[in-house]
Each structure stands twice: as structure tokens, then as C-alpha cells.
Amino acid sequence: MKPASSLLDRELIQETLTEAISNGGEWAEVFVEDRQNASADFDERRVEAMVSSRDLGAGIRVTVGEVTGFAHTSDLTRDGLSEAAQAAAAVAKGGGRVKPIPLNGDGIAESKARILPETISKTRKVELLEQVDSAARAENAAITQVNVRYSEGRRRVLIANSEGLFNADDQTRTLLSVNCVATGDQGLQTGRETVGYTVGFELFEDHDIEAMARRAAGRAVTKLGARPAPSGQLPVVIERGGGGVLFHEACGHGLEADLVNKGASVFRDRLGELVAAPSVTLVDDGTMGVEWGTVAIDDEGCPTQRNVLIEDGILTDYMWDHLRSRAAGRSASGNGRRQSYQHLPMVRMTNTFVTNGDVEPSDIIADTQNGVYVAQLGGGQVNTATGDFVFGMTEAYLIENGEITAPLREGNLIGNGPEVLQNIEVIGNDFAMGSPGTCGKDGQGVPVGDGQPTLRVAALTIGGTAS
């Protein structure tokens, strides 16, 4: 495959920017994306479908004052780009002519994947799926269904704007997930595990996928004997890496500058204030190793960075994209992301996590008289205006007299972001990142990571059925 710089001719990009800004626009941007995905679904002990897809196109953005015009096209010819540039430029109403600054980057990016997945035979990929399926079924006779999914994606982007920016990135992500169904006297239960990183096929050299399969199977089997979760407020201990989504939902979204600016965040006007327990330091870091939310540059061409959002409980900063940081007269933070060339970028998280405390995790459990131990959280959702958020517990247990006891059936937990942050009583010293996730906002999904050490929240409402 060609390097990202050749996604589109440099001169053609320059011409397109000139045309986009010629109608009185103040700033213009061309975003080109070439995405190739392949996936394989293994279900009922066989490959059900192998699918490949390809998407190539450009999105052109023009801003004038607070107004944005945007048009996307899959036609990358001179005519196609010109039509899109004119459509995007239509928000400006003629007037002053800004000349774009000549592009001053090289627009070249090399893939950081050690082994590009497209160079590996499909036969080898099918073998992996079989291997995971067998390991999961061998774990326990109660496992009646196993669904394994492999997916690889290579996304090459090229971003140029009228300020002369010309940046490229070549992103590869590889993922394997397994879903097990266990059948028991009381019905069916499910267990899921996913391993995914911003890497190529080396994923399978670095990770034990059979162990992952066994964990998923074990989870489903454990839940066969699960009792209904309690209903009401209890202390909740969250296992390391199992609950970063809590922070993603409880405060991450509320720290996105676009929501803050519109008054749709409970954290507006609170910079410099104590918003969390003093032991809490929250970071969003797009540069973090090969985590799922890692990217070299965001989808506006801005290099990602480590952004400390809450330090020792004090709110230190929000997350920013081009539009919002420009309006605020400050620099962007590398958080302008978009699902595809068909979407407008907005403020998004990358890898969001709470840093280590200094308590032994075993002490946290022993110190909890009665409560709930959550080993794995599912997805979540937040109302940023009120701070109320929910997240699902996909593996959880009762804590009785300082010990982990009976497994619990699935359910949601609910809390209020600002309250929960204040109610974090103790943070462990065993930080881990969690499973790869997809964050949805205003209809756009982007890959994100999250993580946290084992920690205890004084009280969360548990949405079970047992009194």
C-alpha cells in the first residue's frame, strides 16, 4: 500500500484549500481518509463470514466566525473535490479573500505496526479463531455457544489546512473478541473478553489468546450460579482495569470543551476547584503506548499529548479541539477526532485513566464490610448536563465481611459524576488499562481506551432486583 502522503496530490490539496476559502472563509481544511477493514466471524464452530471493506474519501471544512461549513465526497477527482469545496464554502457569504499559507509539512507517515495484518494469510487468521473457540469450549462443558470475532483495520489520514498544516498518520488496529454462552438450569449466561491494541498482527505474539478464551468462558459459567444483584446503595470496589469506563462517563465527557462551552456540563466554571477526592488524578493521553485510543495526531492534524484533567482532586483543564481552542484563545490538546471523512470533528477522549494510589488491592477488599465487587464493567452512558451516569456490570460479586463471595447477575449501576468523584474512598497501587472500547457521541463512534487501579466508591446505586 502507498504511504499516506500519496493519498492525494499535494497540488490538488492546495488548490482545493484555495477554492474552499475563496468565498470569504477564514480557515479551511481538507481531511482525506483511506480505510481498509477486514473481519472474520467464527460462530457455531465455523467461519460464518469473512468480510472486507474499503472507504476512501475527503471532508472539506470551512469556518467563518463561529460558523462551520462542511462537505464530504468519495469522489477525489478535481471535479469532486471542487464541488465539495464549494458546498463547504457556501456558509461564507463572499467578502474578504484570505490566501492559504503554502503547505509546509511533508505529509508522510509510516505505519508503526510491526506486522501489517494485510500481509498475513487469511488461513492463519482462521486458525486463530479455531484456537480460541477450542480453548473456550474446553474450559467447561456448560459452554454451548462460542462466537469469536477477528478484525483488523488500517486507516490512513492526510490533513491539510489553510494555515499550512500538512500532516499524515497511518493507523493500524487489530482486535480479537470472544463471546461465550453457558447453559444451566436457570437459563443462559454470557461471558465476553476482548483484546485489541493499536498494533498489527504482532498482537498475537504479545498476548495469550487461549487464556483470554478461558477467562470469557469462566465468566459465563460463573454467572450460571449467580444470584440477583442487590437493589439500592452500597459501597462498590472496582477491579483494576475493569472500570475505567466509570471515569469516562462520570467526568470525561463533562470535560469536553464543546459541552462545557454550551453549558451542558456539570463541570463548567469549575477550573481550579476541588471536584474529586484529593487522591484522584485523571489523565487523558493519546500518546500512551499501543493502547486502543492511541493516535499520533488527532483528526485535525494536531499531535496528541498527555493532558492532566484532574490533579490531586483539582480540576486543571478541559479537552480541546481546533474550533473550541481557537475561540478560547489557547492551544488545542489533540482531542479533535471524527469517525470518518464523512463527519465533522469534535472534542473526544483518547485513553482516559486514573493514576495509581498507594493501597494494596487486597486491603481494599478486606476493608469493605458489605458491598459489591465489580470485576468487569460493560458500557456506560452519561447525561453530561446532570452528571448522572450508568454503566453495566458484566462480572460482579457480593463482598461480605471483607471477602468476595457470591457471583451476581448482570445489571446497571447508577451514580452522579461529581458525587462519585468526591466519594472515591481509596485507590489501589495496581493500575491497569481495560478492554478496548468504542465511545459514541452525537452519532459518531471512535476507538478509546480507559484504565484505573482497584478502587472503592463509598456508595453507588446498584440496579438489581434483590431487596
Binding site: 462542511f70 457556501a90 437459563g187 452512558q381 451516569f389 447508577i414 440496579g463
Partner: protein
């Protein structure tokens, strides 16, 4: 408007490339869309674009390959066909795999093409978005700002052709509005949302959207965490749709044949209250989900799902039907970019007769749910466990009382169907195409304080 014949021609041409023993199905789509958002009394953003899509299935001896791309460029189309052929070699042979076969059922022949939406100027679209924002701001002094006020419209065409002689073409458009006002009182902020969608701009009920969105935000001011207890809940129609949509999802063929539905073995049994009748009806033009064909090109048809509480049938596409030894119910759903799965076009609940006030009076004491959160994380359609975040109002002595938030409601899908006590007469078609009413369900665990 001149009907562009291009897509069907391209589809037929690709199908004609089928080799001996090859079954080929080609899906093509092309669409244009515009979204205009307003903020602070002016246009905030205008987004428009053209999207194309192709999806090709190739099946040889029960092995299926699929490939897709976001372009109708000739070179791309040829490449996609080759990719699909390449992919099929790795799929295990499955004797039930195959394309849909024409079944003689006649298409309802609905006229769903209404070009009114194409006549809207950018100025008209902007004006509506700005109007949504400004009227929310002036509707109530507590509305401080509007997070999002948007107009969207789209127009698309879709062609499907296969070596089994199926060839269908459809085009049409729709438009929608949505608004999210913020209401502030003291230190508290609440957000509301309402939206509407229709095939013609003049059918959008902007007045109602504004009133509902503002009421949704302002009426929640002062909400507190309720006490945990077992209660009767009343779902508003949108929440009913989310709940019954999840139930119906567990009654689709792919879940059933793979043993991933709690209802898999229960055909013909009483799975719900006798008051409950549920069907999928894409032949009703009043629904935005109305269609002449399903995602495999078979005629759209009305299917009973639950009749007076009895599970009458599962929904199938041609693959799950073949595996179950029955006929497809015309329930394949897909975009051009994906393989056909089994799903709902226009899920409808048979309405009751009493209006919402009478329903509250009949319930006496309970809670009214305006919205739920975390359906994707708290509902397991395999085990049936149901637990979601909920907000709304208390119902006391038969009328709406104070608001509550930060609570969950929990039960199982299986129990909830049996516990449906009352179905309201306030039936409406929602923007998602479903036709729903308010319903009351007994004995739900409310978790709060």
C-alpha cells in the same frame, strides 16, 4: 424528477459476471444528506455530502463471501467482486446458506417517494434550525441555552439484484428535526430532548417538538433520588419502543437458531400478558419504516409476533428460515454495506383504549418513566436480565407528582412481558418507525436510595 436508472443497470451488469455455480447478490446505494445546526440565533454548522455504497455476496456450494466499499467507481466495483470471491474460500460450507428465492408474495406497492424534501432551500433549513433554538429559549424563562438544534434531511436510492432473478429498486427521502434545551434553576441543570421525522417537511410537528423538549427539561428540575421499592412503572411510548424492540430482537431468527434467545423453545406458548399483541408491519405507510421490499428483495409483509400474549412466530430472513425449515418472513434488514441480518421494519404494539391520564389514574401509585439510559450495557438479550437507568415522575393518587432521577429499574424481559398490566390508547408512530403506546408494567424493582 427523472428516475436515474443507473444503479439497477450497474447491479445487473455485475450479476451477469457470475460464473457457473456462483450465486451473486449485488447491493448498491447512493445518497445525499444535509444537516444544519443552529446556536446563539445563527447557523453553527452546515454539513452535506454524498455517500455511495456497494456490497456484494458471492456464494458457492454453501460458502459465502462478502465485500463492501464506499464508492461506485467501476474499478472499485470489480475489486469488491474479487474480494468477495476471495473471502468465500475461508467460510465453511453451510447447506442452508444461499440467496433469497422469489416466493411469489406481491410487494405492497407503496408510494413512498415524495420529492417535497428536495425542494427545501438551505435558507429554509437554516430558518427551521434557528427557530427550534429560539423558540425553546423563549418558551420558558428557565431555558438557559440549547445544546443542539438541528435540521437533517436525506435522499437516497438503493438497488439490489441477484442471480436468483431478484431485482428491486427503491428511492426516497426523509427529514427530521431535533432539539436539546437546557433548563437551569439555582445550581441545577436539566436537559430535554425531542425530535420528529417524516417523509415530507410539512408533516414535521415543530410545535410539539419544542413543547416536549422544553417540558422534558423543565419538568425534571428539582428531581431527587427515589427510595428503593417494588413499583408499577408506566413507560412513555419512546421507552416502550426501546423495551419491546429489545424483546423483538430476541425473537429474530438468528438469535433463535443459535440458541441465544430466552424464548427459543417457546413458540406457541403464553410468553406475555394476554393484553399484549405485537407485530411488524412495513406495509403501513404511516410508519417511517414502511418499505416495499426487505433487505434481500422479498416483498415486505405484515408479521404477527405475539398475539394476545402467545408467541406466534419468529422473524426470519432466507438463511434463518431455511435452517428452521420455514419460509422467510421478509424480515431481512441491511444497508448496502452489510450482509442481511434479521430485524424489524416497523414494530407495532396493538394499542389499548384509555388515554394517558386515565392510565395514571388506574395505576394509582407508581412511577412514570420519561427516559432510560444504558440499554446497551444493562440489558442482556441472551439471559433476559434487564436493568437500566431511569428518570421521570412519581405517580401519586393517580396523577403525576414530583420528578425523580439517578435511579434504576430492573426485572427480566421474560417477567416484564407477563407483568404488562395496562396498554394505553395514546398510540403514535415514532421517528424510529415503530408504533407504540404507553404501557404499565407491575412489580419492577426501583433502585435509588
Amino acid at each position: 424528477m427523472n428516475k436515474p436508472l443507473e444503479l439497477p443497470e450497474i447491479a445487473d451488469e455485475l450479476v451477469s459476471l457470475a460464473r457457473r455455480n456462483e450465486q451473486i447478490e449485488v447491493c448498491l446505494s447512493r445518497s445525499r444528506s444535509t444537516t444544519v445546526k443552529a446556536y446563539s440565533g445563527q447557523v453553527e454548522s452546515v454539513r452535506s455530502g454524498m455517500s455511495e455504497g456497494v456490497g456484494i455476496r458471492v456464494i458457492v456450494n454453501g460458502q459465502q463471501g462478502f465485500a463492501t466499499a464506499g464508492s461506485l467507481n467501476r474499478q472499485v466495483l470489480t475489486h469488491v467482486l474479487e474480494e468477495a470471491r476471495g473471502n468465500l474460500q475461508f467460510a465453511e460450507s453451510d447447506p442452508d446458506q444461499g440467496l433469497a428465492e422469489p416466493d411469489g408474495v406481491k410487494s405492497p406497492n407503496l408510494d413512498l417517494v415524495d420529492p417535497e424534501v428536495l425542494k427545501m432551500s438551505d435558507h429554509q433549513k437554516s430558518s427551521i434550525a434557528i427557530e427550534l433554538e429560539q423558540r425553546c429559549l423563549s418558551a420558558d424563562r428557565r431555558v438557559s441555552s440549547v445544546r443542539s438544534a438541528a435540521w437533517s434531511d436525506g435522499w437516497g436510492e438503493f438497488a439490489l439484484a441477484s442471480t436468483n432473478g431478484i431485482s428491486v429498486y427503491a428511492e426516497g427521502g426523509s427529514c427530521s428535526v431535533g432539539v436539546q434545551p437546557l433548563a437551569v434553576e439555582g445550581n441545577e441543570t436539566q436537559i430535554g430532548y425531542a425530535g420528529d421525522a417524516a417523509r415530507r417537511p410539512d408533516l414535521l410537528d415543530v410545535d410539539r417538538v419544542i413543547a416536549e423538549a422544553v417540558e422534558g427539561a423543565t419538568s425534571m428540575l428539582g428531581a431527587t433520588k427515589p427510595l428503593s421499592e417494588r413499583v408499577t412503572v408506566v413507560f412513555e411510548p419512546g421507552v416502550t419502543s426501546a423495551f419491546l424492540g429489545t424483546v423483538a430482537g430476541a425473537l429474530t431468527g438468528d438469535r433463535v437458531v443459535k440458541g441465544r434467545s430466552p424464548f427459543a423453545e417457546r413458540l406457541g406458548e403464553q410468553v406475555g400478558s394476554s393484553k399484549l399483541t405485537l407485530f411488524d408491519d412495513p406495509t403501513n405507510v404511516a410508519s417511517l419504516g414502511a418499505d416495499n421490499h426487505d433487505g434481500e428483495g422479498l416483498a415486505a409483509r405484515k408479521n404477527m409476533i405475539i398475539e394476545n400474549g402467545v408467541l406466534s412466530q419468529f422473524l426470519h430472513n432466507s438463511y434463518t428460515a431455511r435452517r428452521s425449515g420455514v419460509s422467510s418472513t421478509g424480515s431481512a434488514v441491511r444497508g448496502a454495506r452489510s450482509t442481511p441480518s434479521v430485524g424489524l421494519h416497523a414494530l407495532c404494539l396493538k394499542p389499548g383504549v384509555i388515554d394517558r391520564e386515565a392510565l395514571f389514574a388506574k395505576v394509582g401509585n407508581g412511577i412514570f418513566i420519561r427516559g432510560v439510559n444504558g440499554l446497551h450495557s444493562g440489558v442482556n438479550p441472551v439471559s433476559g436480565d434487564f436493568s437500566v437507568g431511569a428518570y421521570g415522575h412519581k405517580i401519586r393518587d393517580g396523577v403525576l407528582a414530583e420528578p425523580f432521577s439517578e435511579a434504576t429499574i430492573a426485572s427480566t424481559l421474560q417477567r416484564m412481558l407477563l407483568d404488562v398490566a395496562i396498554i394505553g390508547g395514546d398510540f403514535e408512530f415514532l421517528p424510529n418507525g415503530s408504533g407504540m403506546s404507553s404501557i404499565a408494567i407491575e412489580d419492577i424493582a426501583l433502585s435509588g436510595m
